[in-house]
Symmetry: C2
Subunit: 110 residues, 2 copies
Amino acid sequence: MIATTPKPPYYAVIFTSIRTEEEMGYRELLDKMVELAQHQKGFLGMESAKNEIGITVSYWDSLETIKNWKMNVDHIEAREKGRSTWYKKIMVRISKVERDYGFDNLSLKK
Amino acid sequence: MIATTPKPPYYAVIFTSIRTEEEMGYRELLDKMVELAQHQKGFLGMESAKNEIGITVSYWDSLETIKNWKMNVDHIEAREKGRSTWYKKIMVRISKVERDYGFDNLSLKK
C-alpha cells in the first residue's frame, strides 16, 4: 500500500536493511512492531518492500513523535534483537518531506 | 545494495509505485533511467525494492540537482510513458535527510 499522507511538511524515516538467514521469531516480532508503530501518536503511515534489500518508510508528524517511538521499550528490545540476530546491515535516515506529488489511476492527486 | 551516502544534510527522493500488468519496454527504460540518473551531477546513490509496491529512494546533494534531473528530457519522456502505461499509482516525496545512522555486520557505522 502507498501511504496516504497529509500536506507537507511531515517526516519520513527511511529504514534500509539486509537480512541474515535467521527467520526464527522475525516475522512475529516485525508484525508486532508494525502494529505498535501504527498506534503511536504522530504516526502517519508506512510503506514497505523487500527483495535483495528491504526498504521500509514510515511517516510521522514531527521529530518528537519519531523520538518517542525510538524510546519505546518494546521497540528498543526489538531493535536489539534485530541487531544481534536478524540484520547484517541497516541504515536509518530521518528526513523532512518538503514536497510531494503523484497520480492515482491517471487522475492527478494534487 | 544499501547506498553509501555522505554526512547529512542531503536529499532523498522517495518514489513509491504500483505497477500495471504491462511489461513491454518497462525494464529496458527503467535500466536506462537508472544509468542516466547515476551520471547526473549531484547524484549520491539509490536503493530499490519491490513486491506489492515498489519503493525507490534516490539520494541527491541539493534540491537544484533534483530539479535538473526532473527537467532532463529523456527523464520527462520516460515519466510520460510511466504515467500512461506502466504505473497505476505513484507518489513522489522530496525530503531532506537531517540525520542518519546504522550498522554494518555488527560494527557501528557512525
